[in-house]
């Protein structure tokens, strides 16, 4: 058993254990969940440091065969791509557990679902087998629907649960179709990713097959990541979700689509990828520009944060669309930084909601004096969201722009406008409305998170750490991405010398 297996199994085993606890003793479920996620988080941090960047392949591998006729196994392992995501996911799940104190009804069920989510998504990131990857992701996804429906907030929660279920199931279904088609087309008779990769080196997937499988995966996974125009489930879902769920989904589970795109679709179908990335570079502007504009108009904190989170996904898509090392590394960096950021933002807004039962921006005003800690944290989170240096997001976004500039000039220009200008307008408007100005207090006791500051501090510290010492993460990501982008590195040299279109003055 490697450290990785323990990271994944710790929450799952605890979930099973909690099932046995009788409903009467409520205290222990929360402590149990906290313990399991804390163990995962600590182990993930240890794994992060034990990971050797010099080795290009997978590390901490573990393989347990399951069905040899179909070529399915329980196969775990990490490389630079998944390492950071697992680390981030483990930290976020611990923070989400800490901030779920407001759940009092059916506490046991809630924590079991949260643990399933955690174990599922960490396992999905660690999986090297397509079947277990898919199944574990579903294990993380399905609790989202239940949690919104049962513990959600607001009058729209049933509609939101219905909508998010519909969308994400559709996305997962398309992905499943794509994966099965991939299994058939590769001819490797295996769902094991390293085996498929090895097989595909000498038996590349035929172009017609790539041309129909790639879009299946792109849009299937795209729906899971709220790719425009399939994004509307996200803000609504996060506005209705309980705090912990919003943190887990927006922060961690949503990244699965991007992860799988990089892990499976790009390396196996480079020809189709090359074509579709031209389209993706423009589609992502729907996220960055359009959803940024939508965010300008939101009057609810979570709808604003939700739209902004959708906009950030656009930047990741832009980075992936660049298909070069700088852009894709930037994209992975944004995925990790945004995971921390989204968790932090939704954690803070959830904390406000917990006390005041409202997230209408108009009901707040001038609260910084009253709630200096929460206010400072949220202002820093919003700053990070509009891409200010000092936070991880800046590094990722900058690398995405530098990487994508060569391939997609006009999209980068528009994306810069969206990220730098529109982003700062809605973020600063939110600060102005909630924290600055004359004081307006909604009803409810206002407490400055005394006694429950740890999750915020951890998330913020991680975000700042990534912003200050980016090499610490980049060093681990880069070698693996080099391998993943291998099929593209030769092509770009053959294709590049294209006259630069004059885009300077518009």
């Amino acid at each position: 058993m490697t450290i990785l297996t323990y990271i994944v199994l710790s929450p799952l085993l605890m979930a099973a254990l909690l099932l046995l606890v009788p409903n009467t003793s409520q205290l222990r479920t929360r402590w149990g969940a906290l313990l399991a996620t804390l163990v995962s988080a600590i182990l993930a941090t240890i794994a992060f440091f034990k990971f050797d960047p010099a080795i290009a392949g997978y590390q901490f591998e573990q393989k347990i065969p399951w069905s040899s006729t179909l070529g399915i196994s329980f196969h775990l392992g990490v490389d630079g791509l998944s390492l950071g995501l697992i680390w981030m996911g483990a930290i976020v799940s611990f923070a989400a557990c800490c901030l779920s104190k407001d759940i009092v009804e059916r506490e046991k069920e809630y924590y079991i679902l949260l643990l399933l989510m955690t174990g599922g998504i960490l396992g999905a990131f660690a999986s090297l087998d397509l079947v277990s990857m898919y199944v574990l992701h579903e294990l993380a996804l399905v609790p989202t629907f239940i949690m919104i429906g049962v513990w959600g907030r607001g009058k729209d929660r049933n509609y939101a649960a219905y909508k998010i279920t519909l969308y994400l199931s559709a996305g997962a279904l398309l992905t499943l179709a794509g994966l099965i088609a991939l299994y058939i087309q590769t001819g490797a008779k295996s769902f094991d990713l390293p085996e498929i990769m090895g097989f595909a080196v000498n038996h590349p997937i035929s172009l017609p097959a790539q041309n129909y499988i790639f879009p299946l995966l792109l849009f299937g996974l795209g729906i899971l990541v709220s790719l425009w125009p399939f994004h509307t489930w996200a803000p609504l879902g996060y506005a209705a979700a309980p705090t912990g769920t919003a943190m887990m989904h927006a922060g961690v589970i949503k990244k699965f689509g991007l992860f799988a795109l990089l892990r499976i679709a790009l390396p196996l179908m480079p020809d189709a990828a090359q074509l579709w990335m031209q389209i993706l570079a423009w589609l992502c502007l729907g996220n960055i520009l359009y959803c940024g504009l939508v965010a300008l108009k939101q009057k609810n904190i979570n709808l604003l944060l939700g739209n902004s989170s959708v906009a950030h996904m656009g930047i990741v898509f832009l980075g992936i669309a660049s298909l070069n090392l700088i852009g894709v590394t930037g994209a992975v960096f944004v995925m990790i930084a945004h995971g921390l950021l989204a968790a932090l933002s939704f954690g803070l807004s959830g904390y406000l909601y917990q006390q005041t039962k409202t997230l209408e921006i108009g009901r707040y005003g001038g609260l910084l004096r009253e709630l200096p800690f929460l206010g400072t944290c949220m202002i820093m989170a919003l700053f990070a969201g509009c891409g200010l240096p000092g936070f991880g997001n800046f590094v990722g976004e900058l690398s995405v722009f530098f990487g994508a500039w060569k391939e997609h000039k006009v999209p980068v220009i528009i994306a810069c406008w969206g990220a730098l200008v529109i982003g700062s307008i809605y973020m600063l408007r939110a600060i102005r409305a909630i924290w600055h100005g004359p004081i307006t207090k909604p009803d409810g006791v206002m407490c400055d998170a005394a006694g429950n500051r740890l999750p915020f501090v951890i998330l913020l510290a991680a975000l700042i750490w990534l912003g200050v010492c980016p090499n610490w993460l980049v060093r681990r990501i880069e070698p693996s991405l080099k391998t993943i982008l291998q099929p593209f590195s030769n092509r770009s040299q053959a294709v590049t010398p294209m006259p630069i279109p004059p885009v300077a003055k518009r």
């Binding site: 219905y162 909508k163 519909l166 969308y167 559709a170 125009p229 399939f230 994004h231 509307t232 489930w233 359009y290 504009l293 939508v294 300008l296 108009k297 070069n324 090392l325 700088i326 590394t329 930037g330 001038g366 910084l368 700053f383 509009c386 200010l388 240096p389 800046f394 590094v395 900058l398 690398s399 722009f401 530098f402 990487g403 500039w405 060569k406 980068v412 220009i413 810069c416 406008w417 730098l420 200008v421 529109i422 700062s424 307008i425 600063l428 408007r429 600060i431 102005r432 924290w435 600055h436 100005g437 004359p438 004081i439 980016p470 090499n471 980049v474 880069e478 630069i500 004059p502 300077a504």
Partner: protein
């Protein structure tokens, strides 16, 4: 030297972090830490200057900050004459203002937050000065914007201050948008972001940027337009006066707004002649526009703010006319006397219990003599009177314009007239005329923690022209070709005389501004800043906000509706179609079976 410079850079950051984490509750300790950090940075800067004396230090230290493929960002320091002098200016003026703040802000509720902000600002500003590559500069560029935001919004409970902070940040962000694109273009064309490599490449091949050289230069210039508040992004600076007065002195007069000019000088080699001429005209335009606006302002800080805009216009114009050394010289002297003017204004505001309207002041000459005399020295320097430092730098700018661009020389001379006019309007009305309000007649001189920095800056203002600052800048940036000095000097002194006489005749013993009625509608335009804010408001409402409204509506009613309805409709339609087949009629089923059998038969057997 480089490690020393890094210590100077990180000292203020350490102070900001220490205050934020540990000494929030203890105002004096926080102030002590912050002032200490600033003085420490000043001492180190002096040490560095004393060692190098304008010589360029070798780039030995190269800590790598980010490295992905061939995208490498180092975190080194540049130490040439340009950055050495700028270090001295920033830390010297900064230290004076730090000390002054301890007097000015003593009664404030959040002294610690204020000093943490000042320290953060010092860190960011020193970072810009020392930056060795574009990305490093951009990082600090943004951080300077943040600290400016935090300090303008220091009194965030006041709606006007909170709005001003937001406006400053967003306007700067628009400039940064262009700046970032410019950096991307430089990187794409030259393959490097390091200033020294860029200089080497451009020296070897001035056309290395290719056909887009002018565009690239102008995009880089966008950063300066935002940060140095040039037309058309000048609107944020007057509003930024909502911040505490020492902040206005440090950030919005002496240092941060000058960062744009500094950046232009740092990468001067990138600009094509066409780009330079655009830069020169933007600078000249800003100078005259702002001077006109200043003439009809009544708030003491706003007058100084427009004056800052106008002087920044001078500097940008000087860069555009091919005189980066001249621009830097004026930047330096301006930092001395404009900081002094703001601190003097702060002293007045402090004495009058936060009264800022000059028409409610008066008679301060005798009651606040230190403030008055230092303020007068700074005013004379700003108006370009010998032997004060402003005379030398302004004279150089006028001579530069005379030698290169006659229309801009005329504009610059008119600006000089207007400068003297609005500054003496301020001095006469606020200091010399009899007191016009109760607080003014009971005013007292400020405590010495505030007046001592005034005296220190006054000394610099007097001496600034004689200590060879201009020569040092010429070492770093090359000698500037100037026009006829005698003509330029005559123009400058003539402008001073005209402005002074006009101000004296209009405002000696005046109780109200008679110019307002004489100018009529024009006065309204000047006072209301030529309605730029209203225009931008209108433009934003009908473009971006309109788009946002449309997008929001579309999102809510079309995409959101279509997605859910589409999916559920597809399911229902599928169900409906399948239902049609379940007729319950045996004959139909028999027919279907027969048809299907025929089909299979036809497909596989025939």
């Amino acid at each position: 030297m480089a490690p020393l410079a890094l210590i100077a850079l990180f000292l203020p950051l350490a102070s900001a972090v220490a205050i934020a984490l540990f000494t929030r509750r203890n105002a004096s300790v926080s102030a002590g830490i912050s002032i200490g950090a600033s003085l420490g940075a000043f001492l180190i800067s002096a040490l560095i200057f004393n060692q190098l004396r304008g010589a360029t230090a070798p780039e030995t230290l190269n800590p790598n900050w980010l490295s992905i493929g061939d995208f490498k960002v180092d975190f080194g320091v540049t130490l040439d004459a340009l950055s050495q002098l700028m270090l001295l200016v920033v830390t010297g003026v900064g230290s004076a203002i730090h000390i002054y703040s301890w007097g000015y802000m003593r009664a404030d509720r959040s002294v610690s937050r204020y000093f943490a902000g000042l320290s953060l600002f010092m860190f960011s500003m020193l970072g810009i000065v020392l930056a060795r590559n574009f990305v490093q500069m951009f990082i600090f560029w943004e951080l300077v914007g943040v600290s400016s935001y935090l300090l303008i919004g220091h009194w965030y409970e006041r709606a006007s201050a909170a709005d001003a902070a937001k406006k400053a940040f967003i306007t700067n962000r628009i400039g940064d948008f262009g700046f970032l694109l410019g950096i991307l273009m430089v990187w794409a064309a030259l393959g490097t972001i390091n200033f020294s490599s860029i200089a080497d490449i451009m020296k070897a091949n001035p056309l290395a940027l290719g056909a887009l050289g002018t565009g690239t230069g102008l995009l880089i210039f966008c950063g300066c337009v935002g940060k140095s508040a040039q037309f058309p992004l000048h609107v944020w600076l007057p509003d930024a006066m909502e911040g505490p007065t020492p902040v206005s002195a440090l950030i919005h007069a002496a240092t941060m707004v000058a960062a744009g000019v500094y950046m232009l000088c740092r990468v001067f080699i990138l600009f094509t002649p066409e780009a330079l001429s655009v830069i020169a005209w933007i600078g000249g335009g800003t100078a005259i526009l702002a001077a006109l606006m200043a003439v009809q302002q009544n708030d003491i800080k706003r007058i100084l703010a427009y004056s800052t805009l106008s002087q920044l216009g001078y500097m940008v114009m000087a860069v555009g006319l091919g005189g980066p050394a001249t621009a830097m010289f004026h930047l330096t002297t301006h930092a001395f006397f404009k900081a002094l003017l703001f601190l003097g204004a702060g002293s007045v505001i402090y004495a009058l219990h936060h009264e800022q309207d000059i028409w409610k002041m008066g008679g301060l000459k005798s009651k606040m003599s230190v403030t008055f005399w230092t303020f007068l020295i700074a005013t004379l320097a700003l108006c370009g009177v010998p032997p004060f430092s402003g005379f030398f730098s302004k004279d150089e700018i006028l001579a530069l314009a005379l030698g290169h661009n006659m229309p801009l020389f005329v504009i610059a001379s008119i600006v000089a007239v207007l400068t003297t006019f609005y500054m003496f309007r301020l001095v006469i009305v606020a200091f010399i005329n009899p007191a016009k309000s109760d607080p003014a007649s009971h005013a007292h001189e400020s405590p010495s923690v505030m007046t001592l920095p005034l005296v220190f800056l006054a000394v610099l203002t007097i001496a600034g022209g004689f200590i060879g600052i201009d020569k040092l800048y010429e070492v770093a940036l090359g000698k500037t070709e100037l026009g006829n000095h005698t003509v330029a000097m005559a123009a400058g002194l003539g402008a001073f005389a005209i402005g002074l006489i006009a101000a004296w005749t209009l405002y000696a013993n005046a109780t109200a501004d008679s110019l307002t009625t004489r100018l009529g509608a024009m006065a309204h335009w000047m006072r209301d800043r030529f309605y730029f804010d209203e225009c931008y408001e209108w433009l934003n409402r009908w473009t971006q906000e309109l788009l946002a409204t449309v997008a929001d509506w579309f999102d809510r009613w079309i995409i959101a509706g279509a997605g859910v309805k589409g999916l559920s409709l597809a399911a229902e339609l599928g169900g409906g179609l399948l239902r049609l087949m379940q007729t319950g009629n045996v004959q139909t089923y028999a027919l279907l079976i027969a048809l299907a059998t025929a089909l299979l038969f036809w497909r596989y057997i025939l």
